[in-house]
C-alpha cells in the first residue's frame, strides 16, 4: 500500500514554506525601502526569523543562506559584497531560532536569543570587514548593530506574535484568522 504523508509532516511542507519565507525575504524589504526605513528596520531579517521559528534547522539555514543572494540577483539589494555578510548573519539568525525552537524553548525566549546570536556574528563579520577596509573595526561593528536597533526591537516584538499565529493556524488545519 502506498503511504501518502499527511500535509504538515512532509518534506514538501518544509521545502515550500522555506521557499515562501525566502520569497517574503525578497519582497518585504522592497516595501520598507520604498518608505526609506529599510536600513533601520532590517526587513530581510523578519521572514528569516519567522522561518527559523517554524522550520527544521536544515531548512531554516537554507532560508538564511539563499535570501540575500536571491534578493541581490533580483532587486540589486543588497549590493555586493553585502550578500556574503548578510548570508552569514542570516544563517546564524535562522539556525539559532530553529535550534532553540527544536529544543522546546518558548518563543519569547528563543526569539531574543536568536537575535543576540545574530548580533554576535554580525559584530564579528563587520569587524573583519572593517579591518579589510581600513576602518576602526570595533566602532564600525557597533555602529552597524546600533543602526539596526529599531529592527531588533521589531523582531523581538512582532516575530513571536507572527510565529504563534502561524503555529496556531497549523493546528487548526491551515486556516489563518
Amino acid at each position: 500500500m502506498i503511504r501518502v504523508p499527511e500535509p504538515g509532516q512532509s518534506a514538501a511542507r518544509q521545502v515550500v514554506q522555506a521557499a515562501g519565507f525566502t520569497a517574503l525575504g525578497v519582497v518585504v524589504p522592497v516595501f520598507f525601502h520604498m518608505v526609506g526605513i529599510g536600513r533601520h528596520f532590517l526587513p530581510m531579517h523578519l521572514p528569516v526569523l519567522a522561518g527559523g521559528m517554524l522550520l527544521r534547522p536544515g531548512y531554516a539555514v537554507v532560508v538564511g543562506l539563499v535570501t540575500p543572494w536571491l534578493s541581490s540577483a533580483l532587486t540589486g539589494m543588497p549590493p555586493m559584497p553585502l550578500p556574503i555578510l548578510m548570508s552569514i548573519e542570516l544563517v546564524a539568525l535562522g539556525g539559532a531560532a530553529s535550534l532553540l525552537t527544536a529544543a522546546r524553548a518558548p518563543v519569547w525566549i528563543a526569539c531574543p536569543l536568536a537575535v543576540l546570536a545574530r548580533c554576535a556574528v554580525s559584530w564579528l563579520a563587520m569587524a573583519l570587514l572593517a579591518v579589510r577596509l581600513g576602518l576602526p573595526s570595533s566602532a564600525s561593528a557597533w555602529l552597524a548593530i546600533v543602526a539596526g536597533a529599531p529592527g531588533i526591537l521589531l523582531q523581538i516584538v512582532a516575530v513571536p506574535v507572527l510565529a504563534a499565529a502561524l503555529r496556531a493556524s497549523r493546528r487548526h488545519g491551515g486556516e489563518i484568522a
Binding site: V4, A12, G20, A23, V26, F32, V35, V63, V66, L133
Partner: protein, 223 residues
C-alpha cells in the same frame, strides 16, 4: 555567443570574476579598470544592447552609491570609488548572467554541479513565489491606498508594517495550497530535471582561459 555557452561554464566564470573583483587590492585602481574592460568585452560579445544593460544596471548603481555614501565620509574618496566600483562590477556580471541565461537553466546547472538539492529546490520555488508575492503586495498596497488615501510619517510606517504582516499570512496560506498540490503529484522534497549533456570542449576551453586570465590579473595586482 555568450547566450550559447554552457550555463555551468558561465556560472564558473561569473563566480571567478566576482572573487577576483572582491579580492583585488583597494589601493590600486588599474586591476578594476582591466576587469571593467573584461566585462565590457563580454557584454559586446553577448550582443546585449547598451540600453538594455543600462536599464538593468541603473537601479543597481543608484543603490550602490547610496549604500557606499557612509564610506565617503569615513575615509579617502579612493576607498569609496574602489568599493563602489567593485559592487558595480559584480552587479554588471550578475546582470550579464541574468540577461543571457534562463533561470531554469541556472537551476539545472546548480543541480548538476552537486549543489545540495535542498538549496536548489528552495531557490526554484522561491523564484516563482517572489513574483506571486510581489503581485499580491502591489494589490494590497493599492487597496490600502484606496481606503486610507495618501498617508505620511508614522502612519505610513504603520501601514507598511501591517502590509508586511498581512503579506506573510497570505504567502503562508498559498504555500499550504502549493504543498497539497505537490503532495498530490508525489513530490518528495527534491525537484528533478533531465540530466544535462556533458560540457563541450569549446565551453571548457573558454571558461578555463577566462579563469586563468582572472587568476593572472589577481596575482599581478598583488605583485
Amino acid at each position: 555567443m555568450v547566450h550559447a555557452m554552457d550555463t555551468r561554464s558561465k556560472l564558473v566564470c561569473a563566480a571567478m570574476f566576482c572573487v577576483t573583483v572582491l579580492s583585488a587590492p583597494l589601493s590600486r585602481l588599474w586591476p578594476m579598470a582591466l576587469l571593467a574592460v573584461f566585462a565590457a568585452v563580454v557584454s559586446a560579445a553577448s550582443s546585449i544592447s547598451l540600453r538594455a544593460l543600462v536599464v538593468r544596471l541603473g537601479p543597481i548603481a543608484g543603490l550602490i552609491l547610496l549604500a557606499g555614501l557612509g564610506l565617503l565620509f569615513q575615509g579617502p574618496p579612493v576607498r569609496f570609488a574602489a568599493m563602489s566600483g567593485k559592487a558595480l562590477l559584480c552587479g554588471w556580471c550578475g546582470a550579464l548572467v541574468g540577461a543571457t541565461t534562463p533561470f531554469s537553466d541556472i537551476l539545472a546547472a546548480l543541480r548538476h554541479m552537486r549543489v545540495p538539492s535542498r538549496i536548489v529546490g528552495v531557490t526554484g520555488i522561491a523564484y516563482q513565489l517572489v513574483f506571486i508575492a510581489l503581485e499580491e503586495a502591489l494589490r494590497m498596497a493599492t487597496a490600502y491606498k484606496c481606503r486610507s488615501g495618501q498617508v505620511r510619517g508614522m502612519r505610513r510606517v504603520r501601514q507598511v508594517l501591517r502590509l508586511a504582516l498581512a503579506l506573510c499570512h497570505r504567502i503562508i496560506e498559498r504555500t499550504e495550497r502549493m504543498e497539497r498540490a505537490l503532495l498530490a503529484r508525489a513530490f518528495d522534497g527534491a525537484l528533478r530535471g533531465l540530466p544535462l549533456p556533458p560540457m563541450r570542449r569549446r565551453d571548457m576551453a573558454a571558461s578555463g582561459l577566462a579563469c586563468a586570465a582572472l587568476v593572472a590579473l589577481l596575482w599581478a595586482s598583488y605583485a
